[in-house]
């Protein structure tokens, strides 16, 4: 499989005829991205071109992070057998799901325009259809302006809101594997959510949620919320231990009703623990899991939580350098408001926060 | 709490001496009494501070306290506690108990 990772500046370096081009673009640079896609489509008429918006992108070569807007658009280009993939689009209000050839085994990369209600149920449905640990991906945005999410996805020459793109890859010919890894550990007492609706937690242990959280973590400043400083481990009914709990970030707090809003749908009787970062040595140990995904002629997709960017600041670059040195696979990716992947293979792919999600696509070796 | 214990101890000494008990006996008695009294007052303190205390539990403690105080000869306080048990207004009850502690 031929593949290359390029930016707007290096777009001319594509030296083969790709069949798939996936791009990520700054929301405010839609036009530029559309223009570049049009050019690419002209150059490679057969190629399937799609992508999603992002706040910032991740790229293979320095600067790996486009903190200063260095990479408004990044692309990963691959020449994959046309019969071995399919791109499908599901709108948030679509009742239906995707159609697949059930004779074949599929895995998929998901790009969601935004975190919209019901997205987790949809993910679950998809996984039921495609199988355990079959989904990898990220959510582009959670920011809402004028009651409309500013995140979108691009496909078939158009931008779409409240939409999820499902890029299915035939697992006979290709292999899509990956892992989701985080750098926190649950501490303190297990606390039960006693009143909640959607992604809002009203009460923990029968007390106002915000009060409980602030009692533990100290007053939550606007900055600490914006930098996602205090993630929670959320244990749902199925999980046995907190090792299997998924991380979820605090999205906002409401001081009027003392509730908190998180990036996950929660339910009464789910339990919580606060998360604190693990030490550097453990981070290194944890990151070594990525080594297992090293493949020849592979392309890596990276979905890193916006929380990691905010929380780790300049340290994130070293995570990426570590990844690059150990993986030796070209990658592009973006900062997400929710990562999809398996933290624990027993529980399968799920939506997480505060993680680095990696998916590696390679040709099956004979 | 200390003052209640001390007051009761002093009263008990005189009270039991009046019945002609020997000093050794009285001393022993006072030591047990003081321990029981402190335990009861501590329970009461905990009950007052906790939101989970039921009226029955509180009444049981007050009852035990009353009995003990009577036995140790501190009748005025025992009667005060008895009156307190009849008080239906929990706020008044709490205020008086806090005064005790």
């Amino acid at each position: 499989m031929k593949r290359i990772a390029v930016t707007s500046q290096t777009i001319d370096q594509i030296d083969f005829i790709p069949t798939v081009i996936i791009g990520y673009y700054h929301s405010e640079r839609r036009k530029e991205f559309a223009h570049q896609c049009a050019l690419l489509q002209e150059r490679f008429p057969e190629a399937e071109i799609f992508g999603c918006s992002s706040e910032s992108n991740l790229y293979n070569d320095p600067p790996h992070l486009d903190t200063k807007g260095a990479h408004p658009c990044v692309f990963s280009c691959m020449d994959i057998d046309r019969n071995a993939f399919s791109l499908q689009r599901i709108a948030a209000d679509d009742e239906g799901t995707i159609t697949i050839d059930s004779q074949r085994k599929w895995r998929a990369i998901l790009l969601a325009s935004s975190y919209y209600p019901g997205i987790e149920k949809r993910l679950k449905k998809l996984q039921d259809l495609l199988g355990h640990n079959s989904l990898y991906g990220g959510i582009a945005s959670a920011i809402i302006e004028e009651e409309k999410s500013i995140g979108d996805v691009y496909c078939h020459g158009q931008f779409w809101n409240d939409t999820m793109l499902v890029w299915l890859i035939d697992q006979e010919r290709y292999e899509l594997r990956g892992v989701t890894s985080h750098y926190f550990q649950p501490v303190g007492f297990e606390m039960e959510i006693t009143a909640a609706e959607g992604a809002t937690i009203y009460e923990i242990e029968n007390r106002p949620a915000l009060e409980v959280v602030e009692e533990i973590a100290g007053p939550l400043s606007a900055e600490s919320i914006a930098t996602f400083e205090h993630p929670f481990f959320l244990k749902e009914d199925g999980a046995q231990h907190f090792d299997e709990a998924s991380l979820c970030s605090l999205r906002s707090v409401n001081r009027e009703d003392n509730s908190i809003n998180v990036f996950r749908e929660v339910a009464v009787r789910n339990t919580l623990k606060m998360g604190i970062s693990i030490d550097r040595k453990s981070v290194r140990k944890q990151m070594s899991v990525f080594k297992k995904y090293r493949r020849r002629n592979a392309m890596a997709f990276l979905f890193i939580c916006i929380g990691i960017k905010e929380n780790l600041g300049k340290m994130e670059i070293y995570y990426l350098m570590y990844l690059k040195q150990n993986l030796k696979i070209p990658f592009v990716g973006f900062h997400t408001y929710g990562e999809i992947g398996p933290v624990n293979s027993r529980l399968g792919s799920a939506l997480h926060n505060q993680t680095i999600s990696l998916a590696v696509l390679s040709e099956r070796e004979e | 709490m200390k003052s209640v214990i001390h007051e009761t101890r002093d009263i008990a000494k005189k009270y039991l001496a009046e019945f002609g008990f020997e000093k050794d006996q009285i001393d022993h008695m006072i030591a047990t009494g003081q321990r029981d009294l402190e335990a009861l007052l501590t329970t009461l303190d905990a009950q007052v501070k906790s939101e989970m205390t039921s009226a029955e539990d509180l009444d049981a403690t007050l009852h035990a306290l009353k009995g003990l105080l009577f036995q140790m000869g501190n009748h005025p306080l025992a009667e005060q506690i008895d009156a307190l048990r009849d008080d239906q207004d929990p706020k008044v009850q709490l205020r008086m108990i806090n005064g005790l502690l």
Binding site: G188 | L16, F19, H28, G33, D36
Partner: protein, 620 residues
């Protein structure tokens, strides 16, 4: 600016030497440095900070800074780079500054993260300790409840045992159940003690006490354990200075008894020795050393440091959970004393409990005018001569008899002397003989005031008429007693009355007992602190009068009454309560109580109630 080949080679060599990395990697770094000097996009800074960040070596950052300095100093000193000196300085400062900034940033991030983690952990540890406190309280409460229930179980088991109907295997099961219950009771009371100590609930109650008396009482308390181990001798060595001290007698005894019973537990043959010595510190203060030695299995040096930690039972096959020494050490601390141990495996152990005690200054010894008879038959009574001489120096009139016939003769010969104390030290047969004699002597006017003392009675015979019985020696303080005068000795003496008092507050029970014994010295008063316990006791023994508190946790007075009536309807059962209202009174009578005894106690009323029962008993 381009590096000369020889300089580049030099740098590669330095990097290899300084950081011990491969030539290939060192060359890569030098290439990056070259790019940096040419102001091209470079990974140099990333690589350096990445190295600092990812390799958790604190020495790495200064080492890198030092190496960079070495490079630039080298270049700066070369004639060839003369024209680039300004550029070199710029690059150098730039690079160092960025490295420095990166490190600061890194430090700040770590600090931020650890700060928020600290907050969470602090809160967690606070909650945890609160939880532990609650749990401890819970354990204490449960243990308290358990003790009551266990007493009941123990009571029922005793009934079955006493009936003696079980045989063979079934009997052995019963014995096992009974012994397990005893162990469990001991454990529960240990747990209660620990929780009390830990929560600061243990109160130090200082009182005046006789040191020798206390020591001998300790020895008495382990008599039962010793009975099972006939190959051990218990030695007691005590300076026979009758010192009256001021301190927490009960807790001191608890420690000594624990040490003694451990010594007995871990010794199969040989000796267990308790010696007590005191050294004056000042006029008012003495230091007392209680030493418990044994010839037992000893403690291995590895175990000795853990011996005082909870649950450290070092020989698993011996009984108990090992809480005793932990409790003793904690108690010793509470008493400002020291508890230490020395031991040689296979030879034995030596525990020493040292503490300072105040001498009771109010005390002076005056035995003037007291007549004391000693009868010592063929027994090597250790320290007895010192004791007698002490009594004499303090004014006592002591007569020592060594011949039985002569002694008995003397006792039976009418005399003007009315002895205050008659001490008898003899053997099993001798005690039995004298016990019968005392029954007669007590009817004589001469001996109305006399206190008959049996010393060195090893507890294998039951004596009915001796006033005081000691397994070892009678402490000197015994001779300072005066005979209690009983006012009403008419009917009560002959008819013993058994009374059961039930109340969940121990003080209430104690006070009730004091009042009863004051009026009826021959009464036996048993006390139960809960309904279940009361029912258990009621099944074992028959009582004439029961005083029953109405409000108790668990089973209340009314329920207890119901149960008691089912077992035996004959005794008088009185409600004992502080709630005396008309309604209550009616309720009490309606329930089947014989009457109501009020708190505060009315001694007159109490006497009437008991007398009524006594009269009925006599009539029957």
């Amino acid at each position: 600016m381009v590096l000369r080949t020889e300089d580049a080679q030099q740098f590669v060599k330095w990097i290899q030497e300084d950081f011990g990395i491969s030539t290939h990697r060192a060359k890569e770094i030098v290439n990056q440095l070259q790019c940096y000097l040419e102001e091209e996009e470079t990974l140099l800074l990333y690589d350096l900070t990445y190295a600092i960040y990812s390799r958790s070596e604190t020495s790495l950052a200064p080492k890198i800074v030092h190496t960079v300095l070495k490079f630039f100093t080298h270049l700066y000193g070369q004639e060839y780079y003369q024209p680039f000196r300004d550029e070199l300085i710029k690059h150098y400062t730039n690079l160092q500054e960025k490295l420095f900034m990166q490190m600061l940033e890194h430090a700040r991030q770590i600090e931020d993260r650890s700060d928020s983690a600290r907050k969470i952990l602090l809160h967690t540890s606070k909650r945890l300790s609160e939880t532990l406190d609650t749990q401890e309280l819970m354990i204490a409460n449960i243990s308290h409840e358990m003790r009551t229930v266990l007493n009941a179980i123990y009571g029922y088991l005793s009934i079955v045992q006493e009936r003696g109907e079980l045989r063979g295997e079934e009997k052995s099961y019963l014995d096992k159940a009974s012994s397990a219950t005893t162990n469990l009771k001991a454990l529960v009371s240990d747990i209660l003690n620990i929780t009390k100590i830990n929560s600061g609930q243990i109160e130090i109650v200082n009182e005046s006490f006789w040191l020798d008396k206390m020591v001998l009482e300790c020895a008495d308390q382990i008599a039962m354990d010793l009975e099972k181990k006939s190959a051990i001798d218990l030695d007691i060595e005590i300076d026979f200075l009758p010192t009256k001290l001021y301190g927490d007698q009960n807790h001191i005894m608890e420690i000594i008894v624990n040490l003694l019973s451990n010594a007995v537990k871990y010794t199969d043959k040989g000796f267990v020795r308790l010696s007590v010595h005191h050294t004056p510190i000042s006029e008012k203060l003495i230091e007392v050393t209680f030493r418990v030695e044994d010839s037992g299995i000893g403690i291995h040096p590895d175990q000795i440091e853990h011996i005082f930690s909870p649950y450290s039972r070092f020989k698993k096959e011996r009984q108990g959970l090992g809480l005793g020494l932990h409790i003793s050490r904690q108690l010793a601390k509470k008493l400002d004393g020291k508890l230490r141990v020395e031991s040689t495996p296979g030879e034995g152990s030596r525990f020493e409990f040292v503490l300072k005690l105040r001498v009771d200054k109010h005390h002076s010894i005056d035995l003037t005018g007291k007549h004391i008879y000693f009868y010592i038959e063929n027994k090597e009574a250790k320290n007895m001569l010192e004791k007698i001489s002490f009594l004499q120096t303090h004014g006592a009139n002591v007569t020592v008899f060594r011949n039985e016939a002569r002694f008995i003769n003397h006792l039976l010969t009418p005399s003007d002397i009315r002895p205050d104390f008659i001490t008898i030290i003899t053997d099993k047969k001798g005690y039995a003989k004298f016990d019968a004699l005392i029954y007669y002597l007590k009817t004589l006017a001469t001996y109305q005031q006399a206190i008959f003392i049996a010393e060195m009675n090893q507890g294998d015979i039951s004596l009915s008429y001796f006033d005081r019985i000691f397994e070892y020696q009678a402490p000197l303080s015994t001779y300072m007693l005066t005979r209690k005068k009983y006012t009403d000795q008419s009917t009560q003496v002959k008819k013993r009355i058994a009374i059961l008092a039930v109340d969940d507050t121990e003080t209430n029970l104690e006070i009730l007992r004091m009042f009863i014994l004051k009026a009826f010295p021959n009464a036996t008063v048993d006390m139960a602190t809960g309904g279940y316990e009361a029912v258990g006791m009621f099944k074992i023994k028959s009582y004439d009068v029961v005083f029953l508190d109405l409000k108790m946790p668990g089973m209340d007075g009314f329920k207890v009454l119901e149960k008691l009536k089912q077992i035996n309807d004959s005794p008088h059962i009185y409600a004992f309560t502080a709630d005396v209202y008309k309604s209550n009174f009616d309720k009490v009578l309606h329930a089947g109580f014989d009457g109501l005894l009020e708190k505060p106690l009315q001694p007159g009323m109490l006497e009437k109630m008991i007398k009524k029962a006594l009269d009925e008993k006599r009539d029957s």
